[in-house]
Symmetry: C2
Subunit: 335 residues, 2 copies
Amino acid sequence: MASSSGPDSSRRVTIHDVARSAGVSRQTVSRALNGKDEIERSTKQRVLDAARELGYRPSRFARGLVRQDTTTIGLVIPDLRNPFFTEVAASALESARARGWHVVVYDTADRPEEELGTLQVIGSQVDGVVGYFSCAEDELDRYTRGMPMVLIGREHRMARFSSIRIDGEAGVHAAVAHLVARGHTMIGMLDHDNRAEPSLRREWFTAAALAHGIDPGRVAGAGQSADGGGAGLRALLAAHPEVTAVFTFNDIVAIGALREARRLGRAVPADLAVIGFDGLQLGALMEPPLSSVALDTRRLGALAVEQVGRLLTGADPLPPEDLEVRAELRLAGSA
Amino acid sequence: MASSSGPDSSRRVTIHDVARSAGVSRQTVSRALNGKDEIERSTKQRVLDAARELGYRPSRFARGLVRQDTTTIGLVIPDLRNPFFTEVAASALESARARGWHVVVYDTADRPEEELGTLQVIGSQVDGVVGYFSCAEDELDRYTRGMPMVLIGREHRMARFSSIRIDGEAGVHAAVAHLVARGHTMIGMLDHDNRAEPSLRREWFTAAALAHGIDPGRVAGAGQSADGGGAGLRALLAAHPEVTAVFTFNDIVAIGALREARRLGRAVPADLAVIGFDGLQLGALMEPPLSSVALDTRRLGALAVEQVGRLLTGADPLPPEDLEVRAELRLAGSA
DNA sequence: TTGAAAGCGATACCAT
DNA sequence: ATGGTATCGCTTTCAA
């Protein structure tokens, strides 16, 4: 029972219809529409008129089939409303546009089932994929067949994948060092609250803390939102009232912590120093402006697009050491 | 294992290659790949193996040509990094996803030439378009032929266009009324700084001010950014030091004004009341939280997608009175 | 300048 | 269960 009970009368207008209406052949129509010069002015005009009259629009599929030039990449993002991903997406769009590529954006709303759904349909819509994925690698593989894929912020095992590494080790180390230099010894962390696996950022923090002889155990989980950050800070301070500085999983959480600190009557940075992670532009609007271990999101997006491009064209892919974005401490008012 | 499998020959792997490699016909390959049941297990497996071996991926164009089911819409946004447009985009993506549609996103970076470039290529990539445009209507028309188009926040003349109206009149009136009720009589506005045409929001402000017997002339222009808002506020206060309340073109500008007020030593809302426009989620993170004439961006995106869908399928388009998003005053701490 | 015919790569409808 | 053939809508040779 194939066809939807669509507007029967309005069957698609094809190049053939235009040709018949203008009393020429299909090729002539094609010429007129594509601005070729081997055509008489009057003929061209007649065709153009007929086309407009009939409301003709070329089928992108038919056209794409014969002129194999357009590239479209898929960008998969967990949550476009999260400013971090917004920045990454915007950067990816920029890079793609510079190459004349089109980008289909999929927001998986942080839901695994949406991610799978996306993976299933994406294969028949784009030439390559860039983005964030949470599902198991073999699932990724199964759903995307031979598609070039660049994973952001996640390691891969299979050779067919490529990934952009986020290296925050030095940046987090610098952050902790800075706090220590300011006299802090009780430094806590607000990690994400997905306890399935500890975050890399947590590991970096732990290592950096230990390197400075600081107890890395003052950690609380926080939902990925400002509210989550606020609640997380409350929990952290309840469990460890001695904490005077906090490093957070990301800037959104840090911003929530900032707000919560204010509500608790703790001055920042005097009573509580806060350092986030990501380096969102948003942080500069806070009071005080947020210090953060900053990522160059522009480079991140550009790198991902560049790499998927290389996979696409068969050019030499960038080597792993170039596929790395280093985060560095950017101090503002909050610490 | 995978080291040898390279896309050495530049020619595309087609269904034909897979068929030959597996020793079956093309249709059988199609069956195997699309999970039809009229096929023997062993055959299917053989085909699948061959496909994987060759790195075969079906052409989306060929597939789209024969199964005319996928719809793709284009979303044109002036600046994805602007939180307002982020919200609209996210909402549009949500609505599209709910319908199983794909969305190609174009960020025109606020540049007219990018907008034209986008219009030119968009025609052959999507079935319909939703978004923000700044160019003249006849240009819009010329570049997009018979494509269904929904313009957001902008009126149209030609019948082929459809548009979503932003109605902030009542909301702005309420904002001014609120300020007046709080005793403010010297109310300024930070408009956008594109002096080509006064903004609708400015007109609403003027009308509301006059209705309350307030001089609507205390206006300064501001760039569309927090920094612009800060500079704008400085300019406004320099020209009109008596101002005690300010309504801004949008929330980003308002946020900049908030920050600038703090720097100038003006307490908000005590010394200076601020009301923005848009109702960004971001506003809630400010100190104090931003009062704003809020737009339901979710509805905005949903409406645009719904309408382009109707135009696409030939269903009855929504009537103009339904294509309207009303802004309403949402009070927080800043006024 | 124009037209006829041959694909582009896949699926669907019949045969077998 | 499998294969032939027509077809989707368009562009590209190649003739006329």
